[in-house]
């Protein structure tokens, strides 16, 4: 995770376009200023960042399914549950799947685990629109390479 840049996903472990599922890993940093305030003496990942990590995982999945034709933007969070604490240094594994592909929107469900322990889950809705700026597409291409997005799933 590069928390300062809101890059929460480190690598794609599995992307199955046919099954419309993705598994990613996100290494929670051992140290970060966030943990100084959240919380002193008991550092844990904020729930909003766990939700964002689930959203980014879903977003990569949606990019794969649309072959980068459209950029997904988080629009709705439902049933967000922080089921257990996620601590500095832990490896978060997130699985997401597409529940519905609508016209201009999609709904996913996502779960985050540390080891076998379920830590968070949510149902997420995204608006999907053509890339609003070419520089965003360039950025996403670079990010895709960084996290090991399968090149064959990009076009």
């Amino acid at each position: 995770m590069q928390l300062d840049y809101f890059k929460l996903i480190d690598r794609i472990v599995d992307l199955n376009i046919e099954a419309k599922t993705i598994t990613v890993e996100a290494q929670v940093p051992q140290q970060h200023t966030i943990f100084e305030g959240h919380f002193p003496g008991f550092p844990i990942m904020p729930g909003v960042l766990l939700t964002e990590a689930m959203a980014q995982s879903s977003g990569w999945l949606l990019l794969g399914v649309t072959k980068f034709a459209r950029m997904p933007f988080l629009a709705m969070v439902k049933e967000a549950k922080m089921r257990g604490f996620v601590s500095p240094g832990q490896l978060l594994t997130i699985e997401a799947k597409i529940e519905h592909e609508g016209s201009g929107f999609a709904v996913t469900s996502a779960k985050g685990r540390v080891g076998k322990e379920l830590k968070c889950s949510a149902d997420l809705t995204f608006r999907q629109i053509p890339f609003p700026d070419p520089s965003l597409r360039v950025h996403m291409d670079a990010e895709a390479a960084r996290i090991g997005f399968p090149p064959q799933a990009m076009t």
Binding site: G102, F105, T125
Partner: protein, 95 residues
């Protein structure tokens, strides 16, 4: 079996917390019921699932933006119900 209108009225009432008895076939989803685009995503999701279709919201929106259709054609509920019936029929015919 409830009508298409009844089903979408129930979906709207439950999704947007609007009293069911205030929703009529003549209601305009946006102008009368005040449903915004985000709530409409929720409604579209529920309708898509309930009827096994994919409402072409983007196409409808584009037609309205291009002046080729009015919002009434798609968002007055009796008209929305008719569009849904057409989509279901087309899906059945293509199955």
């Amino acid at each position: 079996m409830s009508s298409t209108f009844d089903q979408i009225a129930t979906i709207i009432a439950e999704t947007c917390d609007i009293p069911r008895d205030t929703i009529t076939p003549e209601s305009h989803a946006i102008d009368d019921l005040g449903i915004d685009s985000l709530d409409f995503l929720d409604i579209a999701f529920a309708i898509d699932k309930a009827f096994g279709i994919k409402m072409p919201l983007e196409k409808w929106t584009q037609e309205v933006n291009d002046g080729k259709a009015t919002t009434e054609q798609y968002f007055v509920l009796k008209n929305l119900a008719a569009r849904i019936d057409e989509l279901v029929a087309a899906k059945t015919a293509g199955a």
